[in-house]
Symmetry: C3
Subunit: 200 residues, 3 copies
Amino acid sequence: MFHFLDLIGTMAFALSGALTAMSKKMDPFGVFIIAFVTAVGGGTLRDILIGRTPVGWMLDLNYVYVIAVGFVLAIIFRKKFDKLRTSLFLFDTIGLGVFTLIGLEKGIHIGLHPIICVALGTMTACFGGVIRDILCTEIPVIFRREIYATLCILGGIVFFILRDLNLENDVLYLTTSSIIISLRLMAVKFKWYLPTLEKK
Amino acid sequence: MFHFLDLIGTMAFALSGALTAMSKKMDPFGVFIIAFVTAVGGGTLRDILIGRTPVGWMLDLNYVYVIAVGFVLAIIFRKKFDKLRTSLFLFDTIGLGVFTLIGLEKGIHIGLHPIICVALGTMTACFGGVIRDILCTEIPVIFRREIYATLCILGGIVFFILRDLNLENDVLYLTTSSIIISLRLMAVKFKWYLPTLEKK
Amino acid sequence: MFHFLDLIGTMAFALSGALTAMSKKMDPFGVFIIAFVTAVGGGTLRDILIGRTPVGWMLDLNYVYVIAVGFVLAIIFRKKFDKLRTSLFLFDTIGLGVFTLIGLEKGIHIGLHPIICVALGTMTACFGGVIRDILCTEIPVIFRREIYATLCILGGIVFFILRDLNLENDVLYLTTSSIIISLRLMAVKFKWYLPTLEKK
């Protein structure tokens, strides 16, 4: 079930990457690469930083297949995505919750400090998008106003608080990801934004 | 012979990096760094992703020396490179073929799936240029129209088909790199381009 | 003492990152990330390239705390930093000297060639700023005119010359960092610049 949601999230991220790349007038190769790094870039960065190599997608081809499907779907339906915006946003939000959990878990698994685990969760969920934006030469969207990464950090903190209460893993995972997902939905619905910090 | 071609390719990539950096009005340090990452960036990314560290150029100084020579040549002859464009393009194309093979081999060596090996070959040949473009804040040129990475993928597929026929390694290497190199020459001569994918 | 100077440098780099991010109108999350990568990005890249994982700041939370303090200070005093410019520059210069030494040492420790060690020292001191600039979609400032990385290279060369004279480690460290720091102060005071290399 968890792995299934992981793949759903991966496809949503791949679609969002492909759509961004097409709006930059890239060729099919560029679109595929942007879809790929958006989907697995965060987890890849995490794996590199903790020394878990070869990185995840090299050992589990399901990621590659799912991204390939997402890429093809993005090309075929590229003129209809405005209508699918809501479902895509929903999948992307599922990805946000699931990817955060995966990152948290990898950190716990090798015995890192909770603060670092929260950082790994946030990185897994958000840094694919950062790399996507850099490859498109844009200042990463999550650095500007959007409440996105902040929710992963919040979810990570909640995770460790609940963990100290000795909740079962299933409950723990479900609660954490539900919190991230529902806050994200509310943030978009009610237009919550972070303030920008300016020097004057 | 193979290692010699590798160094030829490295120098060609270093020259192309140095020329790009000079057109961006960088200082000598910037020019050297861009030459360096263009030449070894793809292989470095590959080594990091598969966990082959310290990365290649840290253990074989020949790369550093060849890049230094390329850097000096680029500075001395910087006003004459328009005339040398054809030879430079030829070297660059040799690099494309040889680097693809090197990436394929590293992947096979640690037992990765053929799809991942093709990805590693393409990355080795093309991602030095991607990092160069990012450091110059340009959208990577290989993501836009140019038939370049696609040939590495094609070459990689041919490689595995021929490998299944139990060809000898020498024949295998020669055929694969010849295909990549000759298709690249034809792509430029006959102005083959990939279509861009646009959303409307 | 050495570790203390390391943390001083880390905070100075974090402040400089935070100020750059605020001038780009980022939100608090973006400002924190830019502060973070400016401070530890160079060392992180070095650790990844030599395979020292999990990377440094994951195992020593002092870096995280110091960066967090720097981040908060940058936000509180963001309208007053023009007056603090001189102290900030001084701290940054200390960071430059200390970070170069740390990079040199890590390379020596795993037996790499002096040329590679000098590269690691320069990377540790300068590439946090490069990643900061890339995330802000600017061509890295150290690639354009400013004498900065060149001093790390120079300091590294002096380090290995003095080391061959069998100086004690303390003297060696003090001399190398003093040279880097004082040359940097002079470079700024007397407006020394590198020439840019242009193609015509």
